[in-house]
């Protein structure tokens, strides 16, 4: 972080304290199946003992934003943050119910799931516009980070001046290439993790304390 960024953060922290602003809401965003709910569950379980929502290999399992309040994250130096974690539906520009029937879901249920998923995406965008103070942007490290939805979403987040930490997830998989994500978004910190196995999440917690504190 350069000096100006640090100064801006200190100033915004001062304003937050001065005006008694509410806790920061940190949204976990990303395309479908990037591992957002797996990470949200891990964060919430590590620091509160609860869970946020079910996970599935079928895209759009999360179709409503879910919030866990008062999550305190701390490190060995005694630094800590208290945040709300918001797990959001995967953002995309297309949803076809046939995608769900390929997983064995009946047509009627697939259509319903698709309709809920479209509402979920719109809801996620609304949260980002109105109610989110910082973003963890999740990417599947086995996939191309230059996908249009990622370019758009990072642009939207940047335009709102929200602090963002990019997470290269699924590094436990053999095809994972987190280096591609780092080269795609050199302007942001990128932390490589396995949300499923918990690999390197401590580094993510350190970065969250630094960026969202």
């Amino acid at each position: 972080m350069d000096i100006l960024t640090k100064a801006r953060k200190r100033f915004s922290r001062f304003l937050r304290v001065f005006f008694k602003k509410r806790r920061s809401r940190i949204g976990i965003y990303g395309p479908p199946n990037a591992g957002k709910t797996t990470l949200a569950n891990r964060i919430v379980r590590d620091w509160t003992g609860d869970a946020l929502g079910p996970v599935s290999e079928i895209p759009h399992e999360t179709r409503r934003a879910r919030r866990k309040e008062d999550v305190t994250i701390s490190n060995a130096n005694g630094d800590s943050i208290v945040i709300d974690i918001v797990d959001t539906p995967g953002v995309t520009t297309k949803i076809d119910y046939h995608e769900f029937t390929e997983y064995g879901i009946e047509k009627e249920d697939a259509v319903k799931r698709a309709r809920e998923a479209t509402e979920g995406v719109a809801e996620a965008m609304h949260w980002l516009r109105e109610d989110i103070d910082g973003v963890i942007y999740m990417l599947d490290a086995t996939l191309d980070p230059f996908a249009q939805v990622n370019i758009m979403m990072v642009g939207i987040i940047e335009s709102r001046n929200l602090p963002v930490v990019i997470v290269a997830n699924k590094i436990d998989l053999p095809d994972a290439a987190p280096g591609r994500i780092k080269s795609a978004f050199p302007q942001h910190p990128v932390i490589s993790i396995s949300g499923l196995e918990g690999t390197n999440v401590d580094e993510l917690y350190e970065k969250m304390i630094e960026f969202f504190g």
Partner: protein
Amino acid sequence: MIQGVQLDLISEERLARLTAMEKIRLILDEVMAGNIVVLEKGLSPEESSKLIEMTMMEINPDGFSGIEMETYPARSASGGFFARLFGNREPTSRLTVIGPANQLKMLRKERDLISAWVSSR
């Protein structure tokens, strides 16, 4: 009759005359009619956000399944001292191609190259 796909290339000047909602409505109307739209200058982040929301509202089973959209990664604005101080570093938007998700497929995309395949309905 010859099968084909209509391609509309919209200039930066024409886009500049439209409001955000007019742009989004123009794009969605064209794409829902099965056309491909090429914008000389892409949408702002705020417009992109609204386009995603509006697209979700238009999706219906066995009909419109959404959009495929491709653009080059944005160039960061250079931003002088004051722009950096006040966080005004909005990136510049670039040429953008948008089409129906079931007709426009990306073949290859790099920082400076987009290769796409368009099929007729």
